[in-house]
């Protein structure tokens, strides 16, 4: 009887999964049948299993005695750095807002400095009468102020009509 041909890539994948106990029922049966029929497949399975067992020779490294403490110290350092950075960011944010307000204030000052003066208030009817009173013109030119004319008018120092 001729020996079945070498394992295909798929059969090899399945063989490894079979050794790991990861195959479904149907594929397990197929692989077991192949192992029964083929000495080549059995040799392959045995070599894979024994190679896998060689990994047991690898050292089992353990963390050093100080590992936990050093990890906690590192965590604390990071926390401190984060807190400091957060404060720096908050401080920088405050400075930023202050600078923005300053810029806005300065810009506002320069913008409104050159703006036209507000329109004079509408004269009251009494003031209109003072303006229109021809006799007052002379005094107005002298004192250059309406308030003074009002005072004179209130004191009735001017004739009622001219």
């Amino acid at each position: 009887m001729t020996e079945p041909e070498r394992l295909s890539a798929e059969e090899r994948d399945n063989l490894v999964s079979y050794l790991d106990g990861e195959l479904d029922e149907e594929t397990t049966q197929a692989i077991e049948a192949r192992l029964t029929q083929s000495p080549e497949a059995r040799r392959e399975a045995d070599a894979l299993r024994r190679t896998w067992e060689l990994l047991d020779y690898l050292p089992k490294p353990r963390a050093s005695e100080t590992f936990t403490n050093r990890t906690l110290e590192k965590l604390e350092t990071r926390r401190l750095v984060q807190t400091r950075n957060r404060r720096i960011l908050q401080w920088a944010g405050g400075i930023g807002w202050a600078a923005a307000l300053l810029v806005a204030g300065t810009a506002g000052f320069w913008l409104f400095q050159d703006a036209p003066p507000p329109p004079p208030p509408e004269p009251s009817p009494e003031d209109v009468r003072l303006y229109e009173h021809r006799d007052y013109w002379h005094y107005y030119e002298k004192v250059d102020g309406l308030e003074f004319l009002r005072e004179l008018d209130r004191a009735r120092l001017f004739p009622e009509d001219s």
């Binding site: 090899r12 994948d13 063989l15 490894v16 999964s17 790991d20 990861e22 070599a47 894979l48 024994r50 190679t51 896998w52 067992e53 060689l54 990994l55 047991d56 020779y57 690898l58 050292p59 089992k60 490294p61 353990r62 963390a63 050093s64 590992f67 936990t68 050093r70 990890t71 906690l72 590192k74 965590l75 990071r78």
Partner: protein, 201 residues
Amino acid sequence: MLRVRADEPGAFEELVDRFQHRLLAVMRHLVGNAEEAEDLAQEVFLRVYRSRKDYHPQAKFSTWLFTIANNLALNSYRRKQRKPAVQLDIQDSGPLGPRPAEQMLLDRAPGPDHRLGHEELASIVQEALAQLNERQRMAVVLNKFEDMSYQEIAEVMHISTKAVKSLLSRARTELRELLRGYVEMAEPESDAVQAEKGEAP
């Protein structure tokens, strides 16, 4: 982990104490270097702490832990690839045959009458493991030393179970090739393990 998530005092310390050796062993097998393995393991725990509020108890804690470990180990590997030191351990045999480090292993295969000591064999197996690419190595280490199922490995590595199956098959075939000359030299497994534990075979 739920206690860590709730910021319970002392809980994080307890968690580190409990998982440090397992994590360190995995990291050591992945990166090879003891100092780098400790640094990476510490970083894993710090990230666990940082992401503690994102932990959902549906996920097994060790799966979550090793997912972070896998990400960090891969990042570290990629960083090293970008800044390569003198490196002989190029992965996988090329079309021109075994690469230098693989050839070294093959050349050192002892004669049939030679029985290897435990330490010598450990060093050879370590070299063979280092020849696997980083994804194969991760899958092998999780399967062998963490006893993870294909499904759990798939979750940790963010790949399908089919991809895990293929990854492990290729890794084991490659290891078999690299260690072909040593399988017969090894003491029976039970003897080796018992010897290590200091027990009579």
